[in-house]
């Protein structure tokens, strides 16, 4: 292609008037060094990059030559696509870093190796990391490894090795390493005298001590070359973590030999000349620790400093001091020397993000602590044993705690101690009474003390206020009565996914009776589905047959030897012997108890509500011929203080006209707050003696309440309540009516635990059908 022709095409993509002269020349010069056969390719790429960012376009062109030594021209578009993705997500710096990273995992994949992506490994690594840390850490994909102490970021893809197994091991190493860094307090969140050290450093270098909220940043900024101190600090922390891993997880480190060998060979390629500067020395030292091989030859003082951080007793303050030592030993680094990119498993230091995460956690701990303490201060709202008497009105009959509550803080001397050791806080004082702190509050106060050095008194004040206010609020709401009779109330926890814990006694649940109506609904339904009901009845009747041998029967297929012997014994001993001496094949031992829980939120108004009621009628007719025990309840909620469950039929009641009338009376009420009713009926079902206990929930979509019970929170609470039900030995199953299947359903209900119906008209017949498949 002639040069002129090429330039014409270039200016066609990139109007020359958008560039100054210097840029134009630079661009031409950059492109000139490529083989002309690549012109088309380059022009295409420029066309893609140019509109996004001029600066990026230059950077890419600068890197392209080097890149072409590693990948085939055909892979360049893919490479550019990836850079643009990173640019759009994280900006120019990240995109440049991606291009400059010589080990860039991306190139290896281009060479056709077996790569792994984050999504493939997350399911396996998440419980692994949580098990390691005993904390609910999150995993997320990021451009490189890092952690903010709440979330561990892993590269979106790893393809360093030709073998997927090795790539996985590298993923595992990265995740493990980030956990260790958190565990080793990488960001210096533990209380220590950081300001004094920062002042020392500043004095030494005659810099102005940086006033920064984040100690680590403040520390780095006290050096003449903060980047250098930062590099040294990260490497020292890595050495410390690696030697901990060597001791703590030897299996992992042994598996990783091949991985470390690779890093070591790359490192040797990069740096063949000795003597090492500090950074190179540290890098080789780190690899030597990982490999368990001989340490690099660095000066004796340097070796001593590095060796010291390998000790298990070392704190992050010590690592900072070691950083200072190394920097002074080497009289300040050459500021313009470029550091090699950190090893991929080391990750990137993110003090600001960690600080934000810390503040968020602090706030979360505060809310959680205040709520937990407040609920501890409330008198137990749950009534003792025995059936609740009818006509009780909310909590108004319970003695309310009044201003008589004075919550003492920890005794003054005790508070002193608690600064030393978080374990001291074991109890709180309420008037003269010492209350034992439940384990969750103890854990919280340990976390808070570790963070702040003690429990701020404002936390306790808020808890007291909440305990007082909460009661008043609940009482006020409970006063409003509807014509239905309240038959009892209970408190239930609610799951808050953000804290991975419960809001204690959060939901106030009231049970009400439904008064049967006498309308034409029942008759009309029975008429409408007459044929189907007959058929269903027959089908259900067939299900009664279930084969099982039962012992001690009056007649049967075989002699029950055990019973016979006992009876003979009894007879000889002059006792009336039992005549139950046979084993029989039993047909009707369907030991199933099912609770149907019906959504009565206002969104069911109209077709859906009607179809739900029809389903119930048809179902009950069929159930009658089956003989399974079942109960029916409705639910609806309005804020956490007013979750109502409506009693339609309990397990003892038989299906009568009265019950038919109650079904007919089901009508939409408020919102859908599912957690509390599910928890309540999990408890009820738990008390039923049956082989199989089924909780069948009929709803019309997303859980949602008037307050903040929405979106992810509501979904997660519902999901958690269902998991609780399951682990209580109950089989929850949800039938949900919606126009189209939603993404959240499989997550909320669990993949195999729900059926989705998009045509309301099909519902009445689908419900019994689902019940049939579920129980046979």
């Amino acid at each position: 292609m002639a040069k002129h022709h090429f330039e014409d095409r270039l200016w066609h993509i990139m109007p020359p008037e958008h560039l100054n002269e210097w840029e134009r020349e630079e661009l031409i010069a950059l492109i000139a060094c490529f083989d002309r056969s690549l012109d088309d390719l380059i022009l295409q790429q420029i066309a893609a990059i140019w509109p996004i960012s001029t600066a990026l376009c230059f950077s890419i062109l600068e890197e392209l030559e080097k890149t072409l030594q590693r990948i085939a021209p055909a892979d360049v578009p893919e490479w550019v696509r990836r850079i643009l993705q990173i640019f759009e997500a994280e900006g120019l710096r990240a995109a440049r870093a991606f291009m400059e990273d010589a080990d860039n995992i991306y190139f290896q994949r281009m060479r056709g190796q077996e790569s792994l992506v984050f999504e493939e490994v997350a399911g396996r690594l998440l419980p692994y990391v949580r098990g390691l840390s005993s904390r609910n850490l999150q995993l997320e994909a990021g451009s490189s490894a890092a952690t903010d102490t709440t979330t561990v970021f892993l590269p979106g893809e790893i393809s360093v090795f030709a073998d997927a197994k090795q790539n996985f091991l590298l993923y595992k190493l990265i995740a493990t390493f980030q956990w260790v860094l958190i565990d080793k307090d990488l960001y210096c969140h533990k209380k220590a005298d950081y300001p004094a050290l920062c002042a020392d450093v500043a004095r030494h270098y005659s810099t102005t001590p940086a006033s920064e909220e984040i100690y680590l940043t403040c520390f780095f900024n006290s050096f003449p070359h903060p980047e250098y101190a930062r590099e040294v600090y990260c490497l020292l922390q890595a050495v410390r973590s690696a030697s901990f891993l060597k001791e703590h997880l030897p299996g992992l480190m042994a598996d990783l030999q091949g991985v470390f060998d690779y890093f070591a060979s790359m490192e040797c390629e990069r740096q063949s000349s000795q003597p090492y500067d500090v950074v190179s020395g540290l890098r080789f030292w780190l690899l030597a620790v990982c490999l368990g091989s001989g340490k690099p030859e660095v000066s004796r003082e340097t070796a001593e400093v590095i060796k010291a951080v390998e000790s298990p007793q070392v704190t992050s303050l010590d690592v900072m001091k070691a950083t200072f030592r190394l920097c002074t030993l080497h009289g300040g680094a050459t500021p313009d020397s470029e550091f090699p990119a950190p090893f991929v498993f080391q990750g990137i230091l993110q003090p600001a993000a960690a600080h934000r995460a810390r503040l968020a956690r602090r706030e979360e701990n505060r809310t959680q602590f205040v709520e937990a303490l407040a609920s501890l201060l409330l008198p137990a709202p749950e009534k003792s044993q025995g059936p609740p008497s009818e006509g009780e009105e909310g909590l108004s009959q319970q003695p309310l705690p009044d201003s008589g509550i004075t919550l003492m803080q920890f005794e003054p001397d005790r508070e002193e101690q608690s600064k030393e050791s978080a374990d001291e806080i074991r109890y709180i004082r309420l008037d003269d009474q010492d209350l034992d702190m439940p384990e969750d509050i103890q854990q919280l106060s340990r976390d808070i003390t570790e963070d702040l050095g003690g429990i701020p008194s404002t936390y306790i004040d808020s808890a007291r206020k909440m305990a007082g206010g909460g009661m008043a609020g609940r009482n006020g709401e409970a006063m409003e009565q509807s014509e239905e009779v309240s038959v009892g109330e209970k408190m239930y926890d609610e799951w808050d996914f953000r804290r991975q814990g419960f809001r204690k006694n959060w939901c106030y649940l009231i049970e009400k009776k439904i008064t049967a109506t006498k309308g034409s609904f029942v008759a009309a339904t029975l008429e409408k589905y007459r044929g189907q009901i007959v058929q269903l009845k027959r089908q259900f009747e067939m299900m009664r047959t279930q084969h099982r041998f039962i012992k001690r029967q009056r007649d049967g297929d075989d002699v029950d030897i055990e019973a016979l012997i006992e009876a003979l014994g009894d007879a000889r001993a002059g006792q009336a012997p039992s005549d139950r001496l046979f084993i029989r094949l039993l047909r009707d031992e369907r030991d199933i108890a099912t609770l149907f829980l019906v959504d009565m939120s206002s969104s069911t108004e109209g077709w859906v509500g009607n179809a739900l009621k029809e389903s119930l009628i048809i179902l009950c007719e069929a159930m009658d011929s089956l003989g399974d025990r079942y109960a029916i309840y409705g639910f609806s909620g309005m804020r956490r203080t007013r979750n109502i469950i409506f009693h339609v039929k309990d397990f003892e009641e038989t299906y009568t006209d009265e019950i038919r009338g109650r079904i007919a009376a089901i009508a939409p009420v408020d919102y859908t707050r599912m957690g509390a009713p599910i928890r309540h009926f999990t408890k009820i079902l738990g008390q039923i003696d049956a082989k199989v206990r089924l909780l069948l929930i009929l709803t019309d979509g997303k859980p949602e309440d008037y307050d903040d019970y929405k979106g992810e929170y509501a979904i997660e609470d519902t999901r958690h309540a269902l998991i609780e039900a399951k682990s209580a030995g109950i089989h929850p199953f949800c039938i949900t009516i919606d126009r189209q299947a939603q993404d959240y359903m499989a997550h909320m209900f669990g993949e195999i635990n729900y059926a989705f119906i998009n045509d309301v008209r099909k519902l009445p017949l689908r419900v019994p059908e689902i019940y049939r498949t579920l129980t046979s």
Partner: protein, 275 residues
Amino acid sequence: MATTAMESKSQKIEEHLIVEKPFYLVQKNELTIGLAAYKHGIPLLLKGPTGSGKTRFMQFLAWKLGRPLITVSCHDDLSTSDLVGRYLIRGGDTFWMDGPMTLAVRHGAICYLDEVVEARKDTTVVIHPLADDRRELAIEKRGELLTASPEFMLAVSYNPGYQSVLKDLKQSTRQRFIALELNYPEASLEVEIVSHEAGVDENIARSLVRIAGMTRGLKDSGLPEGASTRLLIHSGLLIKEGIPPREACRATITEALTDDSELNAAIDEMVSAVF
């Protein structure tokens, strides 16, 4: 260990006496409380996850008290006759054979109902009069009413985390007992237990305990119960047999804990990180 009347034709109480001191490392105050409960004739309720040492503790307590220990593993087919006793025939003659409960009451032994929630409620009602200050056992078929001697003790165990069938004890039952919670022992103690019981060295035991620790905090990730001390002992035994640790742990821990493939994979990763 478990005895039902049908299995053991022997009614000899001596066989239930524990002569050799069982290996038991005290976790916290369980021994003091157990002894105090015995002294005052109050039955004992042991709560705790499976394999946390409840059975072993009872053996130790019985040995300490010098009383025979009769253990009944409860299941949902257990009948009142299985507990109290029944008439049997031998050589044309009938004779009454005491069930384990009766045997214990008569001889002032310790009767331990393991996993009591597994038994049907109508079976466990017989323990009610035994569990309060009447300390009586009615043998209806013989019209006999036994009053337990001061040496007799009733103990039951259940696992609050294991919520399969009738997950909870009724209040009316549980309020008769002194309750002791036996959780997994703390790490250093557990290391000692595992290395003693499996005969493996401390390093192996420590690694096993480390793995167990990782599996015990995964409730919210879908693993209701982590690896118990018992499982660790099993792993130790296999390792002692010369089976490579990773394989041993896969068989005794990973596969035993769950069938969920992702969790299995994660537990495998924990194992291979340690061994």
